[in-house]
Symmetry: C2
Subunit: 224 residues, 2 copies
């Protein structure tokens, strides 16, 4: 996948079984989904028990970055090079078929398997912080926020996960009803869903003279 | 939790470590988050490797129901009573603080640990299918769709997961900047985010005379 394209799955573990036609393994597709979504779900194992927790992330090139307090269990487990799974899902719509059986969702998802490496280099950590802020709100890092202090950098664990073993899966478009159901007297189709931002709510401690920056006022998660 | 209220965590495994003030264990809170979200992320383990996959679900009382093709690996693993984790996350907004360090997300999430039981009783399976359809589009089950045939019921594995070991976690409201950062020249606040439905897209094979039903035309995921 490092060369930008992989028509086939990088490993059997991320190859799609069912609905193989929904699978994609090229890096651009995977990167675009990761860049559009905001939250990932990270899976890890403690004493044979799987745990799945939501957290933010950022992508820099062929790596994914996670961060958290070194006090948090999940990041300590992942920081010890335990096997992990990072899954990102964009729900694009509801698929309302004529039969209950053919109801479905339109979505784009990415699954990444691997192990994380703790990032110790302060410069790489700072780069990850910038990517994490810019992933959430592009334009904010250089809009006057205070960048992390040495103490804050030390107080944050940063993990790097290579995007070597990853796959994307997606479904789009109308329902696929069986021929025999097409004449049923019921509306069928699909309903697109999307994230939208509401009105920004200024911090109560903010001076009222502050203008809302454009990247907040016109916030969107649509693909760039 | 079966009595509707549990002020304390039902187990150490789902008790919150960091940000314990964000944790909630009462059933109504957990049920409301599960009912509002559409997709869960299910974690399971194969050969020590965690996997996390997105899927739909429905809640009936104190149980969660999942379904899938018996050919799919994840449901076969879960159907064999492997330990699992089901996580549901509602992203409610972005928290834009004056320091990079205090940036955060507003969210509501639920983590359920346990093991699934395969549902074999056709009547309970049918109830689960109804709940799954109604969870996605309330009103659709009795709007003329074809209910599952015996063959379709047999061709679908349904799993029941008790909501005995679950916790909710949430954050809301403005950023919490350190005193020393309050005077910085940067906009701070939070940006609410929500799911909205776009315009329904009728199936190309649908007769043009069909009216869009109200539960589709006025679709919303807001809490009931």
């Amino acid at each position: 996948m490092r060369d930008g394209r992989a028509a086939t799955a990088p490993s059997q573990r991320v190859a799609l079984g069912r609905h193989a036609e929904r699978g994609q393994y090229d890096f651009e597709t995977i990167a675009a989904i990761l860049d559009e979504a905001l939250v990932c779900h990270v899976g890890f194992v403690v004493d044979g028990q799987p745990y799945v927790i939501p957290t933010t992330y950022a992508r820099i090139g062929h790596d994914l970055y996670l961060h958290g307090s070194p006090v948090a269990r999940w990041i300590r487990v992942l920081g010890s090079r335990a096997p992990l799974c990072v899954t990102v899902t964009l729900l694009d719509g509801l698929v309302l078929a004529r039969s209950a059986f053919r109801h479905s969702m339109n979505y784009r998802s990415v699954v990444v398997l691997g192990r994380a490496t703790q990032v110790d280099d302060p410069q790489e950590k700072m780069g990850a912080f910038e990517a994490l802020v810019e992933h959430v709100a592009p334009g904010r890092w250089n809009d006057g926020i205070r960048h992390p202090s040495d103490a804050e950098i030390r107080a944050t664990m940063v993990l790097r996960i290579p995007l070597d073993e990853a796959s994307a899966k997606m479904r789009k478009g109308p329902p696929l009803d069986a021929e025999g159901d097409l004449a049923r007297e019921v509306w069928a189709g699909h309903l697109p869903m999307r994230w939208v931002a509401g009105d920004p709510i200024a911090d109560p401690a903010l001076a009222p003279s502050f203008e809302i920056p454009g990247y907040v006022a016109e916030y969107t998660r649509a693909a760039k």
